[in-house]
Symmetry: D2
Subunit: 192 residues, 4 copies
């Protein structure tokens, strides 16, 4: 079973994007194993920190490299991706020549309480995910309007129609990973 | 040998982007077969034309579908891709459910006489190429400052360093196509 | 009363973006005078055409230059602005040194039948409108989900809430034009 | 004399974007007063922090509100603006209804050692600066290739041609601020 490193763009405790991603992770059980990566403890990107970078930086890079694929779950802040998203992306591509994202199959989803469902934010992120050399799945898109009544108390998807929609996305992402993965090189395999 | 449908964003006769693409096509001989697609005869996209679309529209869609991969070569107009590029992209995705670009490995390159080498234009295009469901190669990038002295009279690359740089890109794109291609479905195989 | 040159990104006869813009134009009567600019007869941008450019090109440039402000009304094609929009933008900025858009107050709106209301398309256009040197009003945004029942048979807005929302936008745009306009130079005043 | 709050996207001590901005600030003396705003001590944006936000957040918002205009100086990280830039932008727009950026004249510049001079990064930022309701000056653009020999030991611009180019930009920005400023409302004037 393929592992997916998941990056949630909101740092709020009650983030609906986190809940949304967790619900999808539960739905994906047996197909994809979601690994949520903590990104709230990373410092703002600063090149000067590299000689003695915080452990959080090294940990995040290891978690990216250990995964078969990566998933970005972004709220919409001012019609664009969040600072936490750009921050982990930039740490992951450095230091020069050690791009942890290289060749990873990737996808982006997101949710808002409002109708546009992060359409603008996700589109600000798509080009960037190709620049960092991931293999981005462009379709199907998930612009999701979050409503608490679509989910059960245990965080699973309770709405049948939503479950069918998300299951289709999971199956497509699984197939995408299968199709576009390349054998990880030793450099990408993370520490022994 | 894989075929690549090539879309040049400039319609000028003496377009440096066309010359650049042609030089790369010659350099790629034996590895990739470039097929230049005429896009200057397409009407501006208009949904009303579908019931009786001009032959140029059908021809372009056939040429996309027949290719193993697609390459966009874009000048920079006001820091963005050109109208001719957006026009062929939108025709290619329609009518609804008949997206000719689906699953094609893709890349984008470009050149200007100036120093920025279409960096902004290419970046405006990257997200879009994933929206239309192509599998975009994000790296390596080709932001090329065009100088006539880099090319010979017969249109081939005469500068050794440029040739090495472009050969590396060709090899990477060839490997990308090999890795990300999926068996074309009947619908994508073009006319019998 | 200020005049606004209006550019509708769809060329369809029954375009909902055109209907939407016309309804706003009626609502703005007495405050702003909307002038709809025909852009469907422009050729795809081609630098080679300048020495003997079609009359449509000159006409469009005159209409831009004669207006106090410009308004872009864009559908969403593949999460981005339409070819017709990019085409008129590029013609308007040329030939070199004769940018017809210079210093014009501008705004962008759009509508779709779907929920996202052109959020992604509009956001792909915003940066571009500053590159061409217009003075873009960023707020308030109009991401409009089109429903026929919001409009009367004569094309006016029949829904009270929609009318209030659009009236507020009109008032803001009028104030924006007032505030950011600069005295048009002779070069921008169009033909005598 | 108008004051300009300056935001440098790199947190490095020896940042060339900081040096570049400081050199411009010296060149602008007597015309514009540059106020460099510290953004490296802001936490990653997190809505949960608002009830008891760190003093750095309040300080930054006051500094934005107190300025007549704002200037973003961005390096290029993966062809886009930096995390520090997006972070201060998002803090500045919150809490809901208290957008500190509202109606501020703005501009964006940047430098890299390489030829593209942050063209892609700046273009990723332009649309965003209109979303947050600043009045963005789109032209002239400053895509600057940084070379130490263009500057003197005291940080001033030593190259004559560079000085002329930057002086022209300063004059244009000064005129832009003059033209597009509106009387600051009490809400925007910062704490008494």
């Amino acid at each position: 079973m393929k592992t997916v490193a998941v990056f949630v763009g909101s740092l709020r405790k009650e983030s609906i994007n986190r809940k949304f991603a967790e619900a999808i992770g539960k739905l994906a059980e047996g197909k994809l194993a979601f690994r949520f990566v903590e990104i709230g403890d990373l410092p703002l990107y600063n090149d000067d920190l590299w000689p003695d970078a915080p452990e959080a930086v090294h940990r995040v890079k290891r978690e990216i490299e250990a995964a078969d694929a990566v998933l970005f779950v972004t709220p919409e802040y001012n019609r664009a991706y969040t600072p936490a998203i750009k921050n982990v992306i930039d740490w992951g591509t450095r230091p020069w020549g050690k791009n942890s994202w290289e060749a990873k199959p990737s996808a982006v989803i997101g949710t808002t309480p409002g109708a546009t469902g992060t359409a603008a934010a996700q589109n600000s992120l798509k080009g960037l995910l190709t620049v960092i050399d991931t293999v981005l799945m462009g379709q199907p898109e998930v612009y999701f309007t979050y409503k608490p009544e679509l989910f059960a108390d245990d965080g699973t998807v309770s709405c049948e129609k939503t479950r069918a929609f998300l299951t289709q996305w999971i199956d497509r992402f699984e197939a995408w990973i299968e199709r576009t993965s390349e054998p990880r090189t030793k450099a990408q395999a993370g520490p022994a």
